[in-house]
């Protein structure tokens, strides 16, 4: 399977007609316009050192061992389908800690372009648009690893599943978008919900896994989000949102999980910026979840936050720092204990299509008696082909 998919990549990347379509724009992450096919391949690798072999980087695309990690190799395809819709697919390959090659259908979805009244529908397999980080592909993260609260509540690979999403850009004079989605609640990428027999016990070791069939609408996963943006000046833009998730979990016949979140992103960039520099960006997400179980005494409450800042201090260079705090109220469980993490980093972009990132993590986890764990990552990325712009 992997071999045939890689053959497809090679054929697509080097096929003369596709090569001719590759847009060499001067903008960030050029995107081909028109009916042609956007195709790109992104490689994200890391060299890592962990002070302890039993490290705390549980993210599916995090650097995962002292040595080297292929964090993701992402094949992206996208094009307009017809006058009414466009389609995008993101197919991911990675090599896990055991050296196994993994293939993930990260996203493959249709986006409508022609619905009236500022409506837009997405259908297929897609990241749930909960908060800021969850829908972002690993190569576009500002840090080498996933925020801890995202890892705990939305899963090591991010929350994603087949489903449908409808969003509406309001008629108000400022940006206000309402988003609602319905997706399957099961599978390994819905860890806080129905999940599956393999993953659920790892996340909730104290709960019994209950195989649940989907019999009614309440057995699906629902997300609502309100997103607002405003521009206090020509050089500053702020995006903020509140999100809610509701779906069944596998802890019993009628058990459910609710997750809520607030997110904020603000960016300053002067009008005379060169290549996007300088800039200052601040981002935070606060999340909390409530999981019920058969025995109300086993109900779980998890919460956490991260706050990060980025300073593009000169062309091609970005300094950043992120602070994570999570607390699930169980001092012995590595996935639910109280934990702090600080992650300063420095990123160099030789061009819009490659980067080098040095990051240091210091982690203090309650189940390890707050003994500091250290990690250093040297990450690099390349991007070839035509890749659409990322979310602001």
């Amino acid at each position: 399977m992997l071999r045939s998919v890689f053959c497809l990549i090679v054929v697509l990347l080097f096929h003369p007609t596709v090569e001719a379509q590759i847009q060499q724009g001067e903008g960030m992450r050029p995107s081909l316009q028109g009916p042609n096919l956007d195709i790109s391949l992104d490689g994200l690798f890391a060299a890592a050192y962990f002070s302890e072999p039993e490290h705390l980087n549980f993210g599916g695309h995090d650097p995962n061992q002292t040595g080297f990690t292929l964090q993701n190799l992402e094949l992206t395809l996208g094009a307009t389908v017809d006058p009414y819709a466009r389609a995008d697919a993101h197919i991911i390959y990675l090599i896990d800690e055991e050296g196994e090659s993994i293939l993930e259908i990260e996203e493959a979805y249709l986006t409508t372009l022609a619905l009236p009244h500022r409506l837009q529908m997405i259908g297929g397999q897609f990241f749930t648009r909960f908060g800021r980080t969850n829908p972002i592909h690993p190569h576009a993260w500002n840090f080498a690893d996933q925020p801890v609260i995202n890892n705990r509540l939305l899963g090591p690979d991010g929350l994603r599943n087949p489903g449908v999403q409808l969003s509406w850009l309001s008629l108000l004079p400022f940006y206000l978008e309402l988003i609602g989605s319905i997706q399957n609640a099961g599978g390994e990428t819905a860890v806080s919900f129905l999940s599956n027999e393999e993953v659920f016990p790892k996340i909730f070791p104290d709960l019994k896994f209950e195989e649940r069939d989907v019999r009614r609408f309440e057995d699906l996963l629902y997300m609502t989000r309100i997103k607002n943006s405003w521009t206090p000046t020509d050089t500053v833009e702020v995006v903020q949102g509140v999100s809610g998730l509701f779906g069944p979990n596998a802890g019993g016949e009628d058990t459910y999980t609710k997750v809520f979140g607030f997110d904020f992103y603000g960016k300053w960039r002067p009008l005379n910026a060169v290549g996007g520099f300088p800039f200052v960006a601040v981002q935070t997400e606060v999340m909390w979840s409530y999981e019920t179980s058969e025995d109300p005494n086993d109900n779980l409450l998890d919460r956490g936050v991260y706050l990060q800042g980025l300073w593009g201090f000169t062309r091609r260079w970005v300094a950043g720092a992120r602070v994570d705090y999570v607390n699930g109220g169980d001092d012995a469980d590595p996935l639910r204990d109280r934990r702090w993490r600080l992650s300063p980093n420095l990123t160099f972009y030789p061009s819009e299509f490659s980067k080098w990132r040095l990051q240091y993590n210091v982690d203090r986890a309650e189940h390890l008696d707050d003994k500091p764990l250290h990690a250093v990552f040297l990450q690099f990325e390349f991007l070839i082909g035509s890749h659409g712009a990322h979310q602001f």
Partner: protein, 311 residues
């Protein structure tokens, strides 16, 4: 649980209900969103009071590097017509703005989508294979074509055709405006060329390859760039080579766009005795440049002033 569930269901019902609830409405004047101030200025000339125009990029911004911000999507969501420069200038952000705008009237292929490069004969179209080792090369040609005022007439024609198609009842007035614009532009071009005539063949260096069309029209000879490759910051080796080349060619003016850092051009200027001339490539790039005519008046004023001093 029931309260949360009810709230979520209500929000979802509202969202789906909106699909069917609203009637369509179209208001005059025609709302036009352009990617740059230059296109906005030409649309204003042609559309006059028939249009309301807004540019997504400010004149002082590098239009290559905008981001697909929600505020841009909001502006595009209200537009009846979207006009872009094309040739890859806005490749990094315009498509995402259009998708986010969720406005079927201005999507690619719709009558409200217009690429103003139609009809332009682009310069610097690569003749061989293109890849990113050559820097940020535009495979379809140099996108800075509005800096040739003769191209301004082609852009005006393209815009006028589309405005007339969208507002057929005003086609006569639009054509009248276009003809008036073209006539005034012809007169102005003759004046600008006359003022630049004494400097025909003068060698100049530019920071980025954004002045090719302007140089061709007004007889300047671009003999080098501060960037070693398009979009790639200068290296010490390239700067040394450029200094030697400028001395050989007796280059006295280095033209830079306002958003590029002056430190390297200033260094080169000190070594070569040349002068750094900061020229805005767009309407709105400097206070007081409000129209397409203002832009060339300013550029010609600045250039003739610099060149007449014999730098």
């Amino acid at each position: 649980m029931p309260k949360t569930e009810d709230l979520m269901k209500t929000i979802l019902m509202v969202l789906f209900g909106v699909l069917f609830a609203f009637g369509s409405a179209r208001a005059a004047p025609l709302r036009v969103v352009t990617t740059t101030e230059d296109l906005a200025a030409i649309v204003r000339e042609i559309g006059g009071p028939l249009v309301e125009v807004e540019s997504l990029a400010r004149g002082s911004q590098d239009p290559h590097f905008l981001e697909a911000r929600p505020s841009l999507m909001l502006k595009a969501s209200r537009a009846d017509l979207f006009v872009q420069v094309g040739l890859g200038l806005e490749a990094g952000w315009a498509s995402s703005v259009l998708v986010g705008a969720r406005n079927p009237a201005i999507q690619h292929g719709a009558s409200g989508y217009l690429d103003a490069s139609r009809g332009i004969q682009p310069l610097d179209v690569p003749s061989g294979p293109v890849d990113r080792s050559q820097g940020d090369v535009h495979p379809f040609g140099n996108p800075h074509y509005w800096l040739d005022p003769e191209n301004g007439k082609i852009i005006a024609r393209t815009i006028a055709e589309r405005l007339a198609a969208l507002r057929p009842e005003s086609a006569g007035r639009i054509e009248e405006n276009r003809k008036g614009f073209e006539r005034r532009l012809d007169e102005a071009i003759a004046g600008w060329k006359k003022r630049m005539a004494p400097y025909e063949g003068t060698p100049v260096v530019t920071y980025h390859n954004s002045w090719a069309y302007f140089a061709r029209r007004f007889g300047l000879r671009v003999v080098g760039y501060v960037e070693p490759k398009s979009g790639i910051p200068p290296s010490p080796a390239h700067i040394q080579q450029l200094i030697q080349h400028m001395k050989r060619e007796k280059v006295k003016v280095i033209i830079i766009d306002p958003y590029f850092a002056r430190s390297t051009p200033d260094l080169i200027a000190r070594e070569t005795g040349a002068r750094v001339l900061v020229l805005p490539p767009s309407v709105g790039g400097v206070e007081g440049i409000r129209t397409y005519f203002d832009l060339f008046d300013y550029l010609i004023d600045q250039l003739t002033m610099a060149l007449s001093k014999g730098y």
